[in-house]
């Protein structure tokens, strides 16, 4: 039982990150390979702020700074690295994203050096034998995802996001500023990444320049499993992967193969349904 809760909680983290991949893919039509490194920046922002001391005020401040740093970074990266390439071949954009990823890791390494730094940021204690941090992750993750779903489906701006994702030029003809919508998408994705970074640090209290790589690639896998471009797909994919991971880890005989099993899930699902669980084929439009 607690394994399942742990899995759901880890899954919520993956889902939060996967949402960033999937929303950016759906709306800006690109794979943002630097998304994992946004998580890393969020983690360092939290770490740096916590150096100010140990108090509830500092903790809240750290959370805010972490989210703001990620949002600003996400929007700036989109504006200056990706937007000039709008209309370029997907390969050029992908390579740029990989470049941004290395750049962020290198900058982090310059500032913080390569060694891992401890971050103690969690809620001590347990409830019904489950870590309070785990419960918090699950609760906040769920609330955030519900809020996002409501936002996308029931607000004017959310509707505009769906329109841009389906047909950018037609959306422009409706008066929708697609550049603004894309910036907003990066902002939301990055804010979710910051939340994920904070929760991930509660489980793995060490940050280093490649901190974002593993959760990043797992969440990307989750997004593809769920059907990249699909918001509920990213949530389901994330939760699925989190649960599979925790179950595997809880069985000593197969624990060493956990990562391999997770990626095998991807292969199996893509073989059965190439577009992912909730993905749909889209006609490309000019």
């Amino acid at each position: 039982m607690s394994t399942i809760i742990d899995g759901l909680s880890l899954g919520a983290i993956y889902a939060l990150i996967a949402l960033g991949y999937t929303m950016v893919y759906g709306i800006a039509k690109m794979l943002n390979f630097a998304h994992g490194d946004i998580i890393m920046v969020g983690a360092y922002a939290l770490y740096s702020t916590l150096l100010l001391g140990q108090s509830p005020v500092v903790s809240v401040l750290a959370i805010i700074i972490s989210i703001v740093a990620c949002v600003v970074l996400g929007v700036v990266v989109e504006r200056f690295a990706y937007r000039p390439l709008r209309g370029a071949t997907p390969l050029a954009v992908l390579i740029t994203a990989i470049g941004v990823s290395y750049m962020l890791q290198s900058i982090a390494q310059l500032i913080f050096k390569a060694k891992s730094r401890p971050v103690s940021f969690s809620i001590p204690g347990t409830t019904f034998g489950i870590h309070n941090s785990t419960i918090l992750t699950l609760v906040v993750g769920t609330v955030v995802m519900v809020a996002l779903t409501l936002f996308v489906n029931y607000t004017k701006t959310g509707r505009a996001m769906v329109a841009v994702s389906e047909d950018r030029a037609a959306a422009e003809l409706m008066g929708i500023n697609s550049n603004f919508i894309i910036s907003l998408t990066f902002a939301i994705g990055s804010a979710l990444a910051a939340c994920a970074a904070i929760f991930y640090l509660m489980q793995i209290p060490l940050v280093n320049p490649t901190f974002g790589a593993m959760p990043g690639i797992k969440a990307f896998t989750a997004a593809v499993i769920g059907g990249i471009g699909s918001i509920p797909g990213a949530m389901i994919g994330g939760v699925l992967l989190g649960v599979v991971e925790k179950i595997c880890l809880s069985i000593p005989a197969i624990a060493p193969y956990t990562t391999a099993i997770e990626f095998s899930c991807l292969i199996v699902i893509l073989l059965v349904k190439p577009t992912g669980l909730l993905g749909r084929k889209r006609r490309e439009k000019v």
Partner: protein, 236 residues
């Protein structure tokens, strides 16, 4: 003063010169038709006017303002609206949501209900299907939706790119009746059509486009009776 004025428009796609110096005007209250064979450059002209295309030379004025390098999304607020080639309705959204997006540039909630009811009474089928996913509408219904979506913003100028494409004669008549009605209610119309006969029959003024150049212009009825137009576009 013309509501829309296009001056010496040139558009290149790489080495292909798609539009080679085109000028024309659309006056307030008119229906202006642009006819031409496949690949003549009609859609390119539409994209240049609505600023979906940016790499061009020449000038485009709308309502007295230079919109040559305007942002596409700013035009609907200025009073220009479009039914693009191939309809381009939002397939994953419902009929109602598509109409809502047509009103995106406006704020007044009460006016929205009014416009919505106006569209529903124009095409009652849209009301019946308001909750249906737009991608599952028939081609003709999608065309009605595309047109209604464009009209939601109460445009001064309506651009229509091949509204009759792929429609059965009955639907073609429905759409053309609606174009006439919209025009009578005060909307200026720029119409691109393959169905030259239909287009010329409702046009106050028409232009013939041949591989990127205007080769003829006149009133609709003049061109309907023009021998070379008859031969090339009206089937002899």
């Amino acid at each position: 003063m013309a509501l829309l004025e296009v001056k010496n428009l040139e558009v290149n796609y790489g080495l292909i010169k798609a539009i080679k110096g085109v000028s024309f005007e659309v006056n307030e209250g008119e229906i202006v038709a642009l006819i031409g064979a496949n690949g003549a450059g009609k859609t390119t002209i539409m994209h240049a006017i609505n600023c979906i295309l940016d790499k061009m030379s020449g000038k485009v004025f709308f309502d007295g303002k230079d919109i040559t390098h305007a942002r596409a999304h700013s035009l609907v607020g200025m009073g220009m609206s479009q039914v693009p080639e191939g309809r381009r309705i939002f397939q994953e959204l419902t009929v109602f949501e598509n109409l809502q997006l047509g009103y995106y540039s406006k704020k007044d909630k009460k006016k929205f209900e009014e416009k919505l009811n106006e569209m529903y009474s124009n095409f009652p089928i849209l009301k019946e299907r308001s909750k249906q996913i737009a991608g599952t509408l028939s081609g003709g219904e999608q065309q009605m939706l595309a047109m209604s979506r464009a009209l939601m913003s109460s445009p001064k100028l309506l651009l229509l790119d091949e509204p009759s494409m792929g429609l059965s004669p009955l639907y073609v008549n429905t759409i053309f009746d609606m174009i006439k009605k919209v025009n009578e209610m005060g909307t200026t119309v720029l119409l691109v059509e393959q169905n030259a006969k239909k287009a010329l029959s409702i046009a106050d003024k028409a232009y013939v486009l041949e591989i990127g150049k205007m080769t003829k212009s006149g009133t609709g009825s003049e061109l309907l009776n023009d021998d070379s137009v008859k031969k090339a576009y009206l089937g002899g």
